[in-house]
Symmetry: C2
Subunit: 231 residues, 2 copies
DNA sequence: ACAGGAAAAATGATCGATTATTTTAAGCCC
DNA sequence: GGGCTTAAAATAATCGATCATTTTTCCTGT
């Protein structure tokens, strides 16, 4: 058995960061919710400093917000931001997918075919009755979208798409928690994949943009209604 | 005298963050340099925790890198990243400036005219002989570039352009510290401004991209030569 | 000279008591 | 009831001692 020289022990701060990040993205911790440091240190059986370190990281990533001497809150959601975010996703992912269609080879094709297949085969919910989110679906969903732009040749663009995806994930979680579910067929992801593999850039972009806009329209019924109740 | 209700006391962590951020961007702390927590806490007359918090923030922003149990280093530079970054800047700023030309009104025009003027009127160096950077120039430079895309309608895009600008700033600092200086005329920024105000989108994009590529070519002579010496 | 192991030194990370700041509650006055 | 002031309570932030991990140094054997 070979020891991986690069294998590291995870610090308490990193562990807390990862858990909080997950909970913010999946809606467990709702937008604008106060992130109380003492409460968190108790629930994570940790001192105050690792909690603060984790929160600083989340804040710098835009998943939480921090104000000096006023601590941390989960980043709020808003309709204007949703619209902005959706527009930015359309713009940036368009570059990513066009460049990938231009530059991507057989390996990229196989990546997106597999990612699309896995996404379609992964149930969106653990239990259909109460809409318990399946974490595997969230992973497969992001993997699919990132795979579409993965051959664009720019890590900066890939990172930007990833950020935008995560920001949108918070909105998807808001909708899910509010009981809104998507009724469109799974063909959507498949259609995008086909257009990409067939090198039809205009069609892929159009389908992808429509996909983002549809998500936004679905979500904004909740943000419009629900955001008014948020502090 | 009216007290600003929103005026906050700055925390030690925020103060250290701001200072370290400035020093990383202006090249005072070179790429890959170790950020030793005890040394920093002494030089900032602070405890260890605020230093760690500041470093976590910088790390999440990509200005430093962190590995569990191995502390923090200034983010390294590399030729591949410079190329990627430059390409990403071209792509993203193209969207930003095209949308701004489409949507921006008289106010936007005035913003970029003023920003361009101020940039041209601000000396690049405090002392020409030893190339002491003028911090005012750095501010005016970023203000100019951000103003070009400021009417695009998307805070997410504006934020992305800002991130990319800062990342590029580290490369400009590497070049400056290495004694490389730009010899092109200041007309460049003026020409971009004119094209934008005249609503010549294609020309503005072409000039802007050429501007970014010229910066990259200048910088990469140093990164190519100097990066080999970095750990 | 090189490799491996052990010990020492350096550094990373955490703890929880303490200090600093903000928020809330209570009391008073108009 | 509203506004203001003060005190108490809650929470944010910091400190530096201590524990944990990594790196460096030293020694031994081949």
């Amino acid at each position: 058995m070979i020891n991986d020289v690069n294998e590291q022990k995870q610090t308490m701060a990193s562990s807390i960061y990862a858990q909080l990040r997950k909970e913010i993205l999946d809606g467990t911790r709702p937008p604008s919710a106060k992130l109380n440091i003492r409460d968190l240190s108790e629930s994570f059986s940790s001192g105050l400093s690792p909690v603060r370190e984790a929160l600083n990281r989340l804040s710098s990533e835009g998943l939480a917000q921090q104000a000096d001497n006023r601590g941390f809150n989960v980043q709020p959601v808003s309709l204007p931001e949703l619209i902005d975010l959706t527009q930015a996703r359309c713009w940036v992912n368009e570059i990513g997918i066009r460049e990938s269609i231009k530059k991507g080879g057989a390996e990229w094709e196989e990546t997106i075919i597999l990612a699309s297949h896995r996404l379609i085969r992964t149930p969106r919910f653990l239990a259909e009755e109460d809409k318990l989110a399946n974490p595997d679906w969230a992973v497969a969903h992001k993997t699919f979208h990132q795979s579409l732009i993965s051959a664009c040749g720019s890590n900066w663009m890939i990172d930007t798409c990833s950020r935008l995806f995560d920001a949108a994930e918070r909105y998807r979680s808001v909708a899910r928690v509010a009981g809104i579910s998507r009724t469109d067929p799974s063909d959507e992801h498949q259609d995008i994949t086909s257009a990409a593999v067939d090198r039809k850039a205009d069609e892929a972009v159009e389908l992808l943009n429509a996909h983002f806009q549809r998500t936004a329209q679905l979500v904004q019924t909740v943000v419009d209604d629900g955001a008014g109740d948020l502090p």
